[in-house]
């Protein structure tokens, strides 16, 4: 489709930057999932009309400067502590939307206690958990979610269960607790998967607004740089291998259980 603009013919835009996504270049590598995740969040903040009542908590890790990309109030947090910081924010502003945005090292390793206890208290916050199975920012070390056999700079021969244990399934772990309201896992490997993940994220934010309770959406994303794959290969790796270890879908939904 084309439109007349003066003498020049230009394409009618079918892609626009959502207003909540700041017009800056991100520092993410090509093929990284953070870009898509930021966009999904920005779209939801705009579509749900909550940009002006949302406070984000950024992690330590690749998304450390997430606050440079979304046009909302943001706090940083020490490594692993976003759920504790979010607890303080939310308890003071119970009517605002408070979310944390965390990677696997932040959420499932150094911040495991904060994650479990915020979930167990049923803090009315939403956690967006970006699981790419690797420490990206520090150069590709083993994460708590690295698959058995997967190579990293600290598991050069591939992760060995005998030595380092097994990848931690956070949604399933939190599902042992009474309090959480919504636990789900998505991925970004295809347009269909992206739309499904966005639906899960929307549900998490809606539950928070309805004061249903704690929600976490885990998203399997790729790290082509440290996985030493092309972006295409890494998406296929998620579909064929990673999602076998971390099954996609809704793990807990208290409202669905009620219905």
């Amino acid at each position: 489709m084309t439109a007349k603009q003066g003498e020049q013919e230009v394409a009618t835009p079918i892609y626009r930057r959502p207003p909540a996504l700041l017009d800056v270049l991100t520092h993410y590598c090509p093929g990284c999932g953070h870009g898509t995740m930021h966009r999904l969040l920005a779209e939801l903040l705009d579509e749900m009309g909550i940009r002006e009542q949302t406070i984000g908590v950024a992690p330590v890790g690749c998304a450390v400067v997430a606050y440079d990309y979304l046009d909302i109030d943001w706090s940083e947090a020490a490594h692993g502590r976003p759920p504790a910081v979010a607890t303080g924010l939310k308890r003071i502003h119970p009517d605002k939307v408070v979310f944390t945005y965390q990677g696997d090292g932040d959420l499932a390793s150094i911040g495991m206690a904060e994650t479990i206890h915020a979930a167990n208290r049923g803090e009315n916050i939403s956690i967006f958990f970006i699981n790419n199975g690797i420490y990206g920012m520090t150069g590709g070390q083993m994460a708590p979610t690295t698959l058995i056999g997967q190579k990293s700079s600290t598991t050069p021969g591939g992760r060995d269960a005998e030595d380092t244990g097994y990848p931690i399934r956070m949604c399933e772990l939190l599902n042992q607790l009474e309090a959480p309201a919504f636990l789900a896992r998505g991925t970004l490997t295809s347009p269909r998967r992206v739309r499904e993940t966005k639906r899960l994220m929307k549900k998490a934010l809606s539950y928070q607004m309805e004061k249903v309770g704690f929600s976490m959406v885990e998203v399997l994303t790729s790290c082509p740089t440290h996985w030493r794959m092309t972006p295409g290969e890494s998406l296929r790796y998620i579909e064929q291998t990673v999602s076998r270890v971390f099954p996609l879908g809704v793990i807990k939904d208290v409202k669905a259980a009620e219905e």
């Binding site: 009542q53 943001w74 706090s75 940083e76 020490a78 504790a84 607890t87 003071i92 206890h117």
Partner: protein, 357 residues
């Protein structure tokens, strides 16, 4: 802050509870803590009272979580507080560094106990270095207030909230097991209604304004140097404006005792009503702010006395600051007790006589 003044609406209260009550009266809206002796009464008081008076109490899963919850509540614009004792304060240090770097006000009470390691639960003053040097990583300082009485646990906690807000910095109340556990008659009625300054930087959602970010991260050295310069400028203001100390005893003293908190009470006894007669005149300089340290007052006193005896419940930490301030103007000696022991007035007199008679 003299416990004998203002008879009337005085109540028998422990230091820990006095700090908690003063915090609530100072407008503290959020408290998070983790159980540790000898400060648990503060936490229990908050669990009952803060919640009942419209604030938020959270029993955190760890000391680390507690300090980071404070970070969140402070970023949200609320007056926030946590408390612990020595080992727990060590765990909070990363969070305190983040508070300093993010320019967030917060009040942190350390009811010190015997150390190092797990140590014991008896009173000690061995966290002086940690409190006055910043404690965590980085070029930062924390205002450090040292109460000597239960009334001061009240008054200095109230003051801490104002200082924290005015300078956007964490403030440490450096107490100890004796002042925390002890009960004295305390008045709360003189505390004014709190009037926290506006916090346009707070995270409240963004209607009608540009977005706010509360961060300590500065990727470029230029930006981080700029943040550090701002902090150092603020610290210089604090040193100029906020020094507090108390002098007791004769102006023409031969020997000056320097002590804070519990040790200062023992020394004040020596000055006012010594258990044994002293062959010379003794005065006391009691720092109330340990950082900023009352170095100028001390340097002035050092010109007039024969010698100084620093008394601490430690192996000797504040004595370093005394020596830095005195710069050789007079002799500086140290008397300390470690491991949770408290020197008596008699022992202090013996040491004084042994050193200076």
């Amino acid at each position: 802050m003299d416990p004998s003044t203002g008879v009337g609406a005085k109540v028998l209260t422990s230091g820990n509870e006095a700090a908690a009550e003063a915090a609530i009266r100072a407008g503290c809206r959020f408290y998070a803590g983790y159980p540790i002796t000898p400060q648990v009464e503060l936490m229990a008081y908050m669990a009952t009272e803060l919640a009942a008076r419209g604030g938020v109490f959270v029993q955190a899963e760890s000391e680390v979580a507690a300090i980071n919850m404070i970070y969140g509540a402070s970023a949200a614009g609320a007056r926030a507080m946590t408390s612990s004792s020595s080992p727990g304060i060590s765990l909070k240090q990363e969070g305190i560094s983040y508070l300093a770097g993010s320019e967030l006000p917060a009040v942190i009470v350390n009811v010190q106990r015997g150390s190092p390691g797990l140590g014991n639960i008896s009173p000690a003053q061995s966290d002086y270095y940690q409190a006055t040097r910043g404690g965590g990583h980085g070029d930062y300082r924390t205002i450090t207030l040292a109460p000597a009485t239960v009334q001061e646990m009240c008054d200095l906690t109230y003051l801490a909230f104002d200082l924290a807000d005015n300078y956007r910095t964490p403030v440490i109340i450096l107490s100890d097991g004796m002042v925390g556990q002890m009960m004295e008659a305390v008045s709360f009625d003189h505390l004014p209604e709190p009037s926290p300054p506006p916090k346009p930087w707070a995270l409240t959602g963004t209607p009608g304004r540009e977005r706010n970010t509360v961060v300590s991260f500065r990727l470029t050295p230029e930006d981080l140097a700029e943040l550090n310069r701002r902090l150092q400028g603020r610290y210089a203001d604090i040193c100029r404006n906020e020094v507090l100390y108390e002098l007791a005893g004769p102006e023409d003293a031969d020997v000056l005792l320097v002590a804070y908190g519990t040790a200062a009470r023992i020394c004040r006894q020596v000055v006012e009503r010594p258990p044994q007669a002293l062959p010379f005149k003794v005065a006391l300089l009691r720092p109330i702010t340990l950082w900023p340290f009352p170095g100028e007052a001390l340097a002035e006193m050092a010109e007039r006395v024969k010698g100084i005896l620093v008394v601490e419940l430690s192996a000797g930490q504040m004595v370093d600051d005394v020596r830095l301030a005195v710069e050789g103007r007079c002799r500086v000696e140290f008397f300390g007790r470690m491991g949770g022991q408290v020197p008596t007035a008699s022992e202090t007199v013996e040491r004084l006589v042994g050193l200076f008679a």
